[in-house]
Amino acid sequence: MFKKVDARGLSCPQPVILAKRAMDQFPDEGVQVWVDTGVARDNVERLARMRGFTVKVRTEGNAFILDIGNEQ
């Protein structure tokens, strides 16, 4: 089950910091990050891929939802 991180509306680089912390804390469960700017979406996705996680991005209303998991 994904652990949810709501980083909507937060300035750079807080979405990345929160996502990184969650990935460190729950490497096996997977992390779901909510952001609402293209910059935050790109930054979190890049971080997750840098660390070898898989990322699925979808949009819901004004939000981007990134499902970050570590299984291929």
Binding site: K3, K4, V5, D6, A7, R8, G9, L10, S11, C12, P13, Q14, V16, I17, L18, K20, R21, A22, Q25, F26, V31, D36, T37, G38, V39, D42, E45, R46, L47, R49, M50, N62
Partner: protein, 363 residues
Amino acid sequence: MKYSRNPLVLSGMVIGAIAIALQRLGNPPNMGICVACMIRDISGALGLHRASTVQYIRPEIIGLVLGSTISAAANGEFHARGGSAPLIRFFLGFFAMVGALVFLGCPWRAILRLAGGDANAVLGLAGLISGIWVGVGFLKAGYTLGRSHRNEPGSGLVMPALMVVLLLLAVFAPQMGTADGARTGPVFASLKGPGSQHAPLLASLVGGLIVGVLAQRTRFCTVGALRDLILIRDFHLFSGIIAFFSTALFLNLVLGQFRWGFVGQPIAHSSQLWNFAGMALAGLAFTLAGGCPGRQLIMSGEGDADAGIFVLGMLAGAGFSHNMSMAGSPAGPGAFSQIGVLVGLAFCLVLGYYMRRTDLGVN
């Protein structure tokens, strides 16, 4: 999806080339593009300070914001948002400007100064990195200004509209009366000094527009580049900065305008402690606000009213810097530069320490 650095590197090169081109066309030395200096000149043009040598409505700033607006709108990224501690952001912009004007340049100009051989920029950049490093420490400890929220589209259009008004003033430059034959307000324009040195209006505007579009697309950010290096060892944004610096350095060498040294550098001083401290303040304030001044302009063009408030804080900070003798000059720091920097540092440190939340993580 791959994260290619090519667009960022290419943008860094183009922005570096535009900066040097604008210098060749008339902008002051090592000041092809300087967000802090140019906002300071606009502040003077509007009469917010009366330092007669640094007054001119710089079309580059107008172009940066409007280029970002056009690019964001075309790519579905224009969203009116705001409401994340606007008053604090105003004062972060204010003190970032105080610090930058003690050093005499924003992070972009610090890089351009280094690319022109100005060794004093090394101390400024060292200060900038130190300030960012302290800011990253606060961020890791949970520093936040809280969430912004979506607003009605109108609030996102205020900054682009303000730029259109500035452009109209730049084009029509209403002059009211004369004092001793010199032109006088409400729009002031320097007759000598850096404010009188400028590329043709159209070249400045188009240059700014191109930089605005590129920076909006690639998220080009000097403070973000250093911050990501320190925070997550991510070289992505940094690659753009290296391209920006390398291109400017290369062109300066080719054009024979590279001159290494501490003494006699254009619009610079060698009071190294205050070069360092001024930029440390600026770096800390930029980090606490989420990005470098160029990036704040870009975000304000994308509809971010909080970034717009930060920019207005810089505009006011420039006015106060000169009115209260806090700004540096080629002669050295101003009479009250030290006090201004220390007050700014105190503000940022208190803010960084107290604006912390630990409940924003996993929920």
